[in-house]
């Protein structure tokens, strides 16, 4: 999409629904990675950000969850600047990065217990159900070190699913997943949107999603603007 004029960007930031980013600028060394990115993803929507390797998809997601500081622009979650109350924002956020965030020496179930436990109390039944939903029910007692890359990704998806977060920021969630895994990912995203959740997915291969729940944007020429969709 084209870089937008300031007017569209200003309109998005006021939205009290979902996540809105307004004029994000970020430099990495001499590279101007994010050149005025503005977007707004509302409750029940999934935005797929596609783009060539190195176009800044990961940086955009990391900037949205404040892992990298922005040079300009602001990110609002439900109408509040996330820098004003970062803990409340992080409480509603589930982030899946390139690294799965799993400990190799712990079993899949232990990983879920400790990782999700930081957010909310989770029972064995719940973690078992999440692993089953993600297609790896038999692996709950297996150390993650011994799992294949795709199986680890599924366990990491189970962590996102179990977190109960309303905002999902997923960075290449389909990496290492087989065809069934990609289908599962689409199902999870559609169900999340159905439940009123917000998701942003950075991916180089667009996922198939119900048309009413998703929008796609291509991170092109290092800038992206997604104007609010007219209802």
């Amino acid at each position: 999409m084209r870089p937008a004029a300031g007017t569209a960007a200003a309109a998005t930031a006021d939205a009290a629904d979902g996540i809105a980013a307004d004029g994000l600028h970020l430099w990495r060394g001499d590279t101007h990675v994010l050149q005025g990115v503005s977007l707004h993803v509302r409750a029940g929507e999934c935005l797929q950000v596609t783009g060539a390797n190195g176009s800044g998809k990961t940086t955009l997601l990391r900037a949205l969850c404040a892992l990298v500081p922005l040079e300009a622009g602001r990110v609002c979650w439900r109408g509040c600047d996330v820098h004003l109350d970062p803990l409340a924002f992080r409480g509603e956020l589930a982030y899946l990065g390139h690294d799965n965030g799993l400990k190799g020496d712990l079993t899949a179930a232990e990983n879920l217990h400790y990782a999700v436990g930081l957010r909310r109390r989770v029972t064995r039944d719940e973690s078992g159900a999440a692993l089953e939903r993600c297609g790896v029910p038999a692996l709950r007692g297996v150390p993650v070190r011994r799992l294949s890359a795709g199986q680890r990704r599924r366990v990491a998806l189970a962590r996102v699913l179990l977190s109960g977060a309303s905002l999902w920021l997923l960075d290449e969630p389909g990496s290492n997943l087989d065809a069934a895994g990609s289908a599962l990912l689409s199902e999870l995203l559609a169900a999340h949107a159905q439940a009123g959740g917000v998701s942003l997915v950075a991916t180089h291969q667009a996922l198939e999603l119900p048309a009413d729940a998703q929008r796609r944007a291509t991170l092109q020429a290092l800038s992206l603007t997604v104007a609010p969709v007219m209802a």
Binding site: G91, K103, G164
Partner: protein, 229 residues
């Protein structure tokens, strides 16, 4: 979906439990610094001539240089794995103060690598000819000193998180900051061995430990956040 949200204390305890469980699965890693400390302190009596007064003279230096180097060796364990597998990133994104969570991690790290030093310090001091009467003073000094060393070292480990060969830089960063701990620790040990009261250097060591405990978590959180960028 905010049912049964985990409070900060529960989250910190859960993180501590996770780190303890991981350390138990890799017990060798945590015991390495302890072995290093014991070897260094027992090498001194072997290398020197067998004179008790000479041993007692060098005991404080041997103990504290050993403790300092072994705490430096242990720092590698603190954030390396968590940084590599992405769990540190997840910790930075959980809904609890990052400084507090890192303080919990550092506390577990001290329990695994500092506390064992405290427990074997009387043994090592005994091997260096320290009298029994000196043990309480030495124990207190090593207890406070290793706390301060773990906290100071954690900041260094956070700063060098992203560097591939971070060992030598870590030593350069941490050792100068650890000099006050070395000075007062060695002084408290020397006074204890001489039969004098080690109270003054112990108070200063305690002050250093408290200072480190209050300032280090913030520095640590800032350092690790830079590393995660």
């Amino acid at each position: 979906m905010s049912e049964a949200r985990t409070g900060f204390l529960a989250a910190a305890l859960l993180l501590a439990a996770r780190d303890l469980r991981l350390a138990l699965r890799r017990a060798g890693d945590s015991l390495l610094p302890l072995g290093f400390f014991l070897v260094i302190t027992t090498l001194f009596p072997l290398a020197l001539e067998p004179s008790l007064s000479l041993l007692r003279d060098i005991a404080p230096a041997a103990l504290w240089v050993g403790a300092l180097l072994s705490s430096l060796l242990a720092l590698d364990l603190l954030f390396r794995d968590d940084g590599q597998d992405g769990t540190l990133e997840q910790l930075a994104l959980c809904a609890h103060p990052f400084a507090g969570m890192l303080l919990a991690k550092t506390a577990v790290h001290w329990c695994l690598t500092g506390l064992p030093l405290v427990l074997v310090a009387p043994l090592a001091a005994g091997a260096l000819g320290a009298p029994y009467a000196a043990m309480p003073g030495i124990l207190a000094a090593v207890l406070l000193g290793t706390m301060a060393l773990s906290l100071i070292g954690a900041v260094g480990a956070g700063l060098t998180l992203t560097l591939r060969r971070n060992g030598s830089l870590l030593a350069l960063l941490v050792l100068p900051l650890a000099v006050p701990v070395l000075i007062f620790g060695a002084r408290a040990t020397a006074l204890s061995i001489a039969g004098a009261s080690p109270a003054a250097p112990l108070y200063l060591l305690a002050a250093l430990a408290v200072l480190a405990a209050t300032l280090a978590p913030w520095a640590l959180a800032a350092a690790v956040r830079i590393g995660l960028e």
